[in-house]
Amino acid sequence: MSLIASLGAIEIGLIFGLVALGVFLSFRIINFPDLTVDGSFPLGAAVAATLIVAGWNPVAATAVACVAGAASGWVTAWLNVKLKIMQLLASILVMIALYSINLRVMGKPNVALITEPTVFSMASFGGMPEQWAKPLLLLLIVIVAKIVVDMFFASEAGLAMRATGGNARMARAQGISTDFHTMAGLALSNALVALAGALFAQSQGTADISMGVGTIVIGLAAVIIGETLIPARSMVITTLACIVGALLYRFFIAMALNTDFMGLQAQDLNLVTAVLVAFALLVPAYKRRLGGLFKGKN
């Protein structure tokens, strides 16, 4: 794998680390199977790209993208808790609605950012080459996002949200508004995913209507890879595991693109990726079986 391919995997892996954090929040913390992310990822990209082209400051455009993502998550949760629409269906409804909304936001199927300023062009770290500066800035953003999420989960509101997902009846008995915390949780989750979309558009120079397809699959795979390889009870380590899972997943794709042995062809890419992920998930099981040999933490 070339240096550019490795740095690229880190760059996109870090962006999907934010998606993984969002998916972890909805699926694991508030126990809500949320497919909205397939729509909120391109929503973040569409809002950020459109505002930047309209002359907005990239940081402000990215912030508005997060708010738009939060609104979409809020609507999904509202459909569920207020209108009693089944969780999966509520999120599917918002996801398909967002396809039209994203087209409306952009006014066309894709918006290009070539010469426009982006958060990446603003932070050049003293003239560092782009392929290094982008992963570095993303690393900083992801670390900040992780710390914010960790601090939130340790706060009273965060604990109430965890209680909502863990045992809603008990949470209600403690005076927690589970409706509110479900809506707030999905809003936070989709804000993270929209942030990822906004950063993806700015790092790759384009927001595109079909870029959201399969976001939930990547997010879930990242969460599961992370949780399997780094099992922990501590929230701080689990959020780290999600980001590591996303990075590993992108590395697997980059590795799969480099497999030209055994007659494997380009169309086998997804198969190779799946096999690599499956092998990674086997590692902890083998570690346990060989317990005596690997006296590690887990």
Partner: protein, 198 residues
């Protein structure tokens, strides 16, 4: 349709088939030393798979090899482009929906990896491809119109051979060429329509 010959049935037409031999000639003009053509496409698009198959044949006839990079979704296009760095000498982008949608991501990799992009779609040149030889769809319409006129005048469609376009539009982007590490020859600059990145 099996061939370009008159079918004897009710069908004839004008095809917008990519002129792959001409594209390979263009690749050689842009990057004379190129031996390995990297091609990014979605394995789920029948149109693209057919183009890549023909490209392999045309490339081996020209003494070149094709390095494939699959991108099933638009978000995978940059990763696919990155995988070509060090494995190919030039990137060729077919008229593939995913590839054209995420074209800016390819251009960024092309600049970082000094891997010039030659495209099949002329509209992508002002988005950062170095050169493209494409069809002019206005001409295709005119050419198709002529076939229709022949049929309206009483000729049997089955007696008219199917055609491909004869008019190609060559577009180059010297600014993009510089960023991607190649210099365009004077001959190319003279014969082509010159655009710059928007």
């Amino acid at each position: 349709m099996k061939s370009w010959e008159p079918t004897g049935t009710n069908v004839t037409g004008v095809s917008d088939l990519s002129p792959l031999e001409k594209h390979i000639a263009l690749i050689k003009q842009v990057v004379p030393a190129a031996k390995r053509i990297g091609v990014i496409y979605s394995p789920g698009e029948a149109n693209s798979v057919a183009i890549v198959d023909s490209l392999k044949k045309a490339a081996s006839a020209a003494g070149m090899t094709v390095v494939e990079a699959a991108a099933a979704r638009t978000v995978d296009v940059p990763t696919a482009a990155q995988s070509l760095v060090g494995k190919a000498d030039v990137i060729y982008t077919p008229t593939d929906n995913n590839v054209v949608s995420a074209f800016e991501g390819i251009v960024k990799v092309a600049q970082q990896g000094k891997l010039p992009v030659v495209a099949a779609d002329t509209a992508t040149v002002e988005r950062g491809a170095v050169a493209a030889l494409g069809l002019n769809y206005t001409d295709i319409g005119r050419q198709t119109g002529k076939v229709v006129v022949r049929i309206l005048k009483g000729e049997k469609p089955g007696a008219i051979a199917s055609q491909t376009s004869a008019n190609f539009e060559l577009v180059v982007n010297p600014g993009a060429a510089k960023l991607q590490g190649v210099t365009l020859s004077d001959e190319l600059l003279k014969t082509a329509k010159v655009v710059s990145t928007k």
